[in-house]
Symmetry: D3
Subunit: 137 residues, 6 copies
Amino acid sequence: MEITVSRKAHFNAAHRLHVNEWSEAENAAFFGLCNNPNFHGHNYDLIVSLTGEIDPVSGYFVDMKWLSQLIKEEIEDRFDHKNLNLDCEEFKTLNPSTENVAVVIWQLLNKKINIKFKHLKVTLFETERNFVEYNGK
Amino acid sequence: MEITVSRKAHFNAAHRLHVNEWSEAENAAFFGLCNNPNFHGHNYDLIVSLTGEIDPVSGYFVDMKWLSQLIKEEIEDRFDHKNLNLDCEEFKTLNPSTENVAVVIWQLLNKKINIKFKHLKVTLFETERNFVEYNGK
Amino acid sequence: MEITVSRKAHFNAAHRLHVNEWSEAENAAFFGLCNNPNFHGHNYDLIVSLTGEIDPVSGYFVDMKWLSQLIKEEIEDRFDHKNLNLDCEEFKTLNPSTENVAVVIWQLLNKKINIKFKHLKVTLFETERNFVEYNGK
Amino acid sequence: MEITVSRKAHFNAAHRLHVNEWSEAENAAFFGLCNNPNFHGHNYDLIVSLTGEIDPVSGYFVDMKWLSQLIKEEIEDRFDHKNLNLDCEEFKTLNPSTENVAVVIWQLLNKKINIKFKHLKVTLFETERNFVEYNGK
Amino acid sequence: MEITVSRKAHFNAAHRLHVNEWSEAENAAFFGLCNNPNFHGHNYDLIVSLTGEIDPVSGYFVDMKWLSQLIKEEIEDRFDHKNLNLDCEEFKTLNPSTENVAVVIWQLLNKKINIKFKHLKVTLFETERNFVEYNGK
Amino acid sequence: MEITVSRKAHFNAAHRLHVNEWSEAENAAFFGLCNNPNFHGHNYDLIVSLTGEIDPVSGYFVDMKWLSQLIKEEIEDRFDHKNLNLDCEEFKTLNPSTENVAVVIWQLLNKKINIKFKHLKVTLFETERNFVEYNGK
């Protein structure tokens, strides 16, 4: 019996959309307000979903205490109350678009996820109206 | 790296569930309160989801400004503050059930979506408790 | 010990903002899209709040089963899946603006509320972003 | 045209996570606060999703009145305001983890679902932050 | 400049509505399903609001870290994953209706609140649709 | 008949909690993570509430188109996608705590509000769990 278990978390961060290889004018034209050199910010909501088999004895597929602790250590402690562009190695050269932030979160979590959790998916809300999903494919 | 990007929008509209080929009694029996000849209405919430590859330079798969503008022009301007049965060509002969409204929205958006966005899905909430998803399959 | 108890309910209705004494042009200019002669509609969310003393024996101020039944009989059965302008006596000559709908709901409930419930307040959401509060003062 | 129609419902219940075959110490270590012998409880939110073809005449795939009535009879009447461990046959020997509750709900609904509804999925929220999805595979 | 600062928290608990002085039949008739002798449960959402003056130097009226820690120590650690009737001294003889739980929370917090915070209000949601407010008056 | 009309809006901004008169160590000790010199950010939700009399002819107290346009011009255009500390004159010397941001928003709106709207209140959510209310008293 394959089941998907999801845990919701969040973090607050500043960022700026900017491609280093482009001129200031190109960046401003492409990213608009999101290119503000002084940064803006978001309350990011994150849903982490794992798919696998229920253990027939415990009735658990995933221990939520373990999953929420993993998200805290790998994602919240790393990104919460940070400037993604200035404070975070992951985005020193990578533009912190919602798409890229979601992929980086997936990669950070995937390294720590045991082989038995076959499918890892992350859903990242930049705002209530804008969100992306990435599952490593 | 394939990613799904979603944008939430909304519109307010009146409608009546009614099949022209059926008698009044058949319509009333089948659709109940939703068949009120004077119409009722909803705040529709719409989520438009596109799946494709992240551009490695910009870090964007979809420009949210473009997507929200597309939804405004194709869907909100067409259906917001309208009577779906009386004001909208799409539902002159087609019953505006949530299922049919979702399919029509998918078809209207799909005409304007570039080939590179492989998967288009729409999720339409008629109320917080009733919603449908359609992806063109 | 004075406490306020609130119950949330909802109903879906069509309406048109229109003042009978004004010309079509005046109505269109003043109410814009909300003046559509074919109506539009909303999912109305309603919060009914009563203030009074907790009964020291039962620990209840208000029995929620009674309050939710009262709202159903007086408000939901009257307005749900209706056209406020055409189907409802209350709005035959009164413009169904959110303000007026809230006042009418307050008046309908207040007639049925026992003297011991000193303060009655209604909060009516026309959309998630637009709402009004009325307490009879 | 294949479409997915979803209906949201809810029920409030008490439960205790406990494996009868384990010692008290093992249960306490594994389940932590969720093993409280006096139980704790939740407002469960449930989303039931069915996938199939739209009827070309009525424009319905699923009649929401039928679906909400089915969920009421099969799930809400059975579990609402109950103690899952003590009151419900389904969990007399099965640990009522969110995973197991979701599977039981799927099985109860699936028995009543006609063959034409090809895919049944349930999404069960134990809290706003913890939820599971099960589709019978 | 007087301002109100609010912090949202939550806890999950089991309870049973029951008045010890009443017969089983009287309790069952009055409280209905909420009188289940085996208990049921809720995800309680709690909003704690304090009113007072902004400190002109720090720009803070209340330090949210202090307030969230206070709520954790006084309320969440006491009631989360508990059976209110069996595990909590406060409800050994007091019926844990939403009204009474809100008053008890107000009293527990008020003992720890400094005189400078003139107004303390608690808003307690038993479900998304049922909630009470108490401010000590 | 006095009524309160509310409109919800939002903006995304970066900020840093910092008192210029304090040392770096004092700021870090007092504000913790919120003192990050590289800033962090939020999706701010704003509710603007006005209280006054319903116009007996139009049924409006406030024209929502006017109110939402006022909020856009005075608040959203000023703060959205900005760094409150670096980009906004209002917070060059004033610490952008939630309390202070709410007061500044109230002052900016109050200058533009006609005398007939007697009571202006703003509710500002820094996160879903932290919010403040200010009404000019």
